[in-house]
Amino acid sequence: MIDINDFSITFGSGKNQIQAVKNFNLSVAEGESFGLVGESGSGKSTVLRAMVGIYSHWTGTIRIDGQPIAHKRTPASRKHMQMVFQDPYGSLHPRRTVDATLSEPLIIHGMDKREERVLKILGEVGLGPEYRFRYPHQLSGGQRQRVAIARALILEPRVILLDEPTSALDVSVQAEILNLLSALRKAHGLTYVMVSHDLAVVGHLCSRIAVMNRGVVVEEMSEDQMRTGDLKHEYTRQLWTASHGYDRKALAGFKEIA
């Protein structure tokens, strides 16, 4: 479904030039969910943003369903890949009702039966019709994230990119959103690419995980490796250990990894 080959992207110029992602390769099958884990500055979100066309100056090839995507995207080409952002407070327009937010993609792509579709999608993300005409400030963080997921789904895409979708939420709300995401994936046969700094969250939703550090994938791991901690790269091991909570003895062995 998704094939990325030799993807690189550079920001800035001259002395301040930073190569955010180097020779990145990715291959995700249809219906699979793939996780990208890394710390801030590792380039994990940059990959997602390039895929949806926020950045256009990358090199390499990105193929979705066999079709290479152009650097300049046409509206129609965007329809099959949507994104859910991290901050549920920042990703909804504060002056638009839920209805306006959800109807807009339908208007842009000229889709019919708007009211029906909006009500259906609201039901699917677990919000009743009574939420349809509320403004974002009348919703809780979890409800906003549900609206953001509904907005991504309303165009019936095949690929959803998740950029830290639960890291701004309380743990109990995080559990609800994670459950919703896995239920939606099963129901619609969606392909997920999820980015997070939290190994446990990615591990819960994804069957394959790539660990990124400073713009490079250092290791790719399976579910089993994730469970047992049988990992090759030192950075991955550190991340795995740190995700298990505070451990004074293990910390002593941590190194800065360039």
Binding site: S40, D170, V171, S172, Q174, A175, L178, G203, S243, Y246
Partner: protein
């Protein structure tokens, strides 16, 4: 529950003693009762306060220093800090206590550091504010403090501005600034949530050292139950402004309260399956119960 704690000698004399603490805010939508009758003692230990957003955990931390925002009112039967009554202390006494005897670290160092002064100058300034020592002496102490918090090139970092340092470095600098006055109690409100996991561990180990080496009391406020329980000695679990349960951190698995159990169960686990996570059911009856007061040392 209380009987399950090992009574170590240093816990006999609490440094900080809180009884029946209430914090109320008057807002345009009416009175908001953020903290409802919280009681606990703090010895020379690592005490965690855990709760979700709106549980009153941060307001509890602020109330200890009487840093509650202008429209809030603090009430407590007792708010004692090593023999001093913080409830009735005047503004001047409070200013002297803040920073020099009780310090506070906030979540994001970006907003806690003055952007137009070098970090070194800020640490030295904080040192001079509490002790009347010459400038060169203050600088020397600031440099050695930067070294204490494991900053590799203290001389270089001393002359950097806050925007030139990374998040983890910034939080270490904040800790250095708070520790230079040698406080008895440190209140850390989500000190590591803005940081990467591995950096998070390093900052925590630093706080750990301070508690061990200096006999400091630490209050760690966080939303992350797993992290707090792996780090602290005792954990207070808060919900709706009340303490639901006081736990020995090592016996987290024995937690009794359904809220604590719910919080633990809804966390995705590294060794877990892809089954649906249990969703936390909140029982309105929890809000009717009085706060759990077993965080208090028996006297």
């Amino acid at each position: 529950m209380n009987g399950s704690f090992n009574k170590e000698p240093l816990r006999e004399e609490p440094m900080l003693s809180v009884r029946d603490l209430h914090v109320r805010f008057s807002t345009s939508k009416g009175l908001v009762h953020a903290v409802r009758g919280v009681s606990f003692d703090l010895g020379r230990e690592r005490l965690g306060i855990v709760g979700e957003s709106g549980s009153g955990k941060s307001q509890t931390g602020r109330a200890l220093l009487r840093l509650t925002a202008g429209n809030g009112r603090i009430e407590a039967e007792k708010l004692m800090f090593s023999g001093m009554d913080l409830m009735h202390a005047n503004a001047r006494t409070m200013r002297n206590i803040r920073g020099s005897r009780i310090s506070m670290i906030m979540q994001d160092p970006k907003y806690s550091l003055n952007p137009v002064l070098t970090v070194g100058a800020q640490i030295a300034e904080s040192c001079r504010r509490h002790e009347n020592i010459p400038r060169t002496e203050a600088k020397k102490r600031a440099l050695s403090m930067l070294d204490t918090v494991h900053i590799r090139e203290p001389e270089k970092v001393y002359s950097l501005y806050p925007h030139q340092v990374s998040g983890g470095m910034g939080q270490r600098i904040m800790i250095a600034m708070m520790l230079i006055t040698n406080p008895d109690v440190m209140i850390a409100d989500e000190p590591t949530s803005a940081l990467d996991v591995t950096v998070q561990m390093q900052v925590l180990s630093l706080l750990d050292d301070m508690v061990r080496e200096r006999g400091m009391g630490l209050v760690l406020i966080s939303h992350d139950l797993q992290l707090v329980s792996s780090f602290c000695d005792r954990v207070l679990v808060m919900y709706g402004g009340r303490i639901m349960e006081t736990l020995d951190a090592k016996r987290l698995d024995e937690a009794q309260h359904p809220y604590t159990r719910g919080l633990l169960n809804c966390l995705p686990r590294l060794d877990g399956r892809h089954d649906d996570l249990p969703v936390l059911e909140r029982d309105p009856a929890w809000l009717a119960q009085p706060s759990d007061a077993s965080g208090v040392f028996e006297q």
